[in-house]
């Protein structure tokens, strides 16, 4: 029941008839005040749209401009002296490529581990016949209210020998309390009880039922949760900052921090001219921002739709 209502506002998916009627009605009844009010609404939203859009376009336009134009601050919303040199500099940088590869691995492995753990706890929690369900739910909820903190967690990771290994990027933080609650609510509310009874009559085991009935019926949920974990893993740098020393293990975000925020970047090494090198280093930052955002933005329309659902499943109290 919940998902039906929850997905409705998802990018205006309402039936056509419902949409048409109020428009005609409101237009007929629009008073002078309403017309002024609607103008204000459109101005407000357009302003917000531009505030979000202009910085993004500025970065994109700069990334295609010439090093001198970028360094001189001459680019606003359209590339000046179009070149691809920024992108070439990005591809020539081996640390970025290593980081890109590492991040892809961390996202793939981390999402898989997180998804498996989440299903393994959320499905039993969704079953009313599980003994100890309330205690376990409480145990998950409490981690949302109170956490061990930085150093106490670090000490656990250290004592497990995970420091400076790929495990440190995948295992700590693998299970999100929020995702567990969303998944348990979904399993409870959208898997019909009759299916379970039928499976019981056929003598199917719990695992068998989970694998062949529950999971195939929960594909939208699994997609939402996988995306939450995947995007979170791709975007975070904190675990890497505290757990990793070996630069060969760095995820992309930490490499980006070194280049973009700490300015540890020589620019093109083949350039002897100091000024040119500095200009190329400036330009490369813009191209790097674009390149590192592309994987997320490629899946973005798909991601946004599902995230919208996720927010709403989460907002339906279970």
């Amino acid at each position: 029941m919940t998902l039906e209502t929850a997905t409705r506002p998802d990018f205006g998916a309402e039936p056509e008839t419902e949409r048409r009627k109020p428009r005609r009605r409101t237009r007929m009844h629009d008073t002078g005040f309403d017309r002024v009010f609607m103008a204000a609404v459109y101005i407000l939203l357009t302003t917000f749209l531009l505030i979000v859009l202009v910085p993004l376009i500025n970065i994109l336009a700069s990334s295609f401009s010439s090093p001198a134009a970028v360094s001189g601050g001459r680019v606003f919303l359209w590339p000046v002296d179009f070149t691809l040199r920024g992108y070439q500099a990005v591809l020539d940088n081996s640390a970025i490529l290593t980081g890109f590869g590492n991040s892809l691995f961390y996202v793939a492995a981390g999402t898989l581990v997180s998804l498996a753990l989440t299903v393994m706890i959320a499905y039993p929690l969704s079953r009313s016949d599980l003994v100890g369900r309330r205690v376990l739910t409480g145990g998950v909820l409490f981690t949302m209210l109170f956490s061990g903190g930085l150093i106490p967690t670090y000490m656990v990771v250290q004592s497990l020998g995970m420091l400076d290994t790929r495990w440190a990027m995948i295992i700590p933080g693998a299970l999100g309390a929020w995702q567990v609650l969303i998944a348990a609510t979904y399993f409870r509310s959208s898997i019909p009880g009759e299916l379970y009874e039928a499976a019981q009559l056929d003598g199917a085991s719990d695992l068998r039922f989970l694998w062949s009935v529950v999971l195939p019926l929960s594909k939208p949920l699994l997609a939402v949760i996988a995306l939450m974990y995947g995007v979170g893993q791709w975007n975070q740098y904190f675990s890497a900052l505290i757990y990793l020393r070996d630069e060969d293990l760095y995820p992309l975000q930490l490499v980006l921090r070194n280049i973009l925020v700490l300015n540890n970047n020589a620019g093109g090494s083949d350039l002897t001219n100091l000024l040119e090198r500095k200009q190329l280093a400036d330009l490369m930052k813009y191209s790097l921002i674009v390149v590192s955002t592309v994987p997320v933005m490629l899946v973005y329309p798909f991601v946004a739709r599902h995230f919208t659902k996720g927010v709403m499943i989460g907002s339906v109290k279970g």
């Binding site: 209502t5 929850a6 409705r8 506002p9 990018f11 205006g12 109020p22 009605r25 409101t26 009844h29 009010f37 609404v41 939203l45 917000f48 749209l49 505030i51 979000v52 910085p55 500025n58 970065i59 360094s71 601050g73 606003f76 039993p124 599980l130 003994v131 145990g139 209210l145 109170f146 956490s147 061990g148 903190g149 930085l150 150093i151 106490p152 967690t153 000490m155 656990v156 295992i171 299970l175 085991s205 719990d206 975007n235 975070q236 904190f238 975000q253 980006l256 921090r257 973009l260 921002i289 590192s292 955002t293 973005y300 329309p301 991601v303 946004a304 995230f307 919208t308 927010v311 709403m312």
Partner: protein, 303 residues
């Protein structure tokens, strides 16, 4: 007695469910509950050789050490000011956006605004901070020109007093569109017959928003508000740490970044844990207090 028998029967019939639970429960114990227990070193003088349980107890000495340092009050002040400011700016804007979007009937416009304003939510903190640094750079960024036009200081990132504005408004830039989703969902759930009645009464749009939309989303607003207040002291490490530089540190140092520096850079585990524990406890108290007040006043709460 009967409880025990039901457990036995449940275990025999549904043992597979309990097997499934082994790994996640082990995870929760190892990575959530053992760290909570490790907090005892806040009351000890931790040294690596003696280990967590072997190190000598020192009572509240670590907390006293923290509060004896004048930096402590700056940290608490910075943390509170930053999150309060963030809350005051970041809380109403998504609601206003959702109410405005809800009025729009032009489908194309509505979808465009949604698609564009959700996008920054998916950018990483490193990317957003890099964009801030580039766009506000006095040498190459276009915002420096804009600020100069309005007679404001052009090098915002070197100015301690501007740190909070940069932090908070870039957060609004990144999250306002996405945060509006939950209110859009609440608005979509309002009974259409209420609008019908308002129309017959000759209500204008503003009256409709005031008397139908706002009461309709009030429960959602309360829940979101409790969650935001509950995380007031839990302000994130990632962004503040990246935006810090030696020039703005007097305002940009918050509890989370200070804990990291004391704990991992200076390797004073006990002091860092004490500061972190202080932070978590205040946070928990805030959350419980807001929830209680909200339940009494509005009847809505988290549990």
């Amino acid at each position: 007695m009967s409880r025990r028998r039901s457990l036995e029967r449940s275990l025999r019939r549904h043992w597979q469910l309990y097997v499934l639970l082994i790994l996640p429960v082990a995870y929760l114990v190892i990575f959530e509950y053992i760290p909570m227990a490790n907090n005892v070193i806040a009351f000890k003088e931790y040294n690596v050789v003696a280990g967590i349980w072997g190190s000598p107890w020192v009572g509240l000495e670590n907390f006293e050490r923290f509060f004896a340092n004048p930096v402590a009050w700056d940290l608490i002040n910075n943390t509170l000011m930053l999150s309060l400011y963030g809350f005051l700016a970041g809380f109403p804007i998504p609601i206003i956006l959702a109410l405005a979007l809800n009025e729009v009937r032009l489908r194309f416009f509505k979808r465009t605004v949604q698609l564009v304003t959700y996008a920054p939510h998916f950018l990483s903190t490193v990317i957003v901070v890099s964009m801030i640094i580039l766009i506000f750079s006095p040498r190459i960024g276009f915002m420096a020109d804009v600020l100069g036009f309005f007679g404001m200081p052009t090098n915002l990132l070197a100015d301690p007093d501007s740190f909070r504005h940069v932090y908070v408004w870039s957060d609004v830039w990144q999250t306002a569109g996405y945060s509006a989703i939950i209110f859009m969902a609440a608005l979509a759930g309002i009974d259409p017959s209420l609008y019908e009645a308002a129309r017959l009464d000759g209500a204008n749009r503003l009256q409709k928003i005031w008397h139908i939309d706002l009461p309709g989303i009030a429960p959602t607003v309360v829940v979101v508000m409790i969650l935001s207040v509950g995380s007031i002291m839990a302000i994130g490490f990632e962004k503040a740490f990246l935006l810090q530089n030696p020039l703005n540190l007097s305002q940009a140092e918050i509890i989370a970044t200070y804990t990291y520096k004391i704990g991992l850079l200076s390797a004073d585990f006990s002091l860092a844990t004490a500061i972190g524990l202080f932070n978590s406890v205040i946070n928990l108290i805030l959350l419980l207090a807001v929830n209680t007040v909200s339940k009494r006043v509005t009847g809505n709460g988290l549990w």
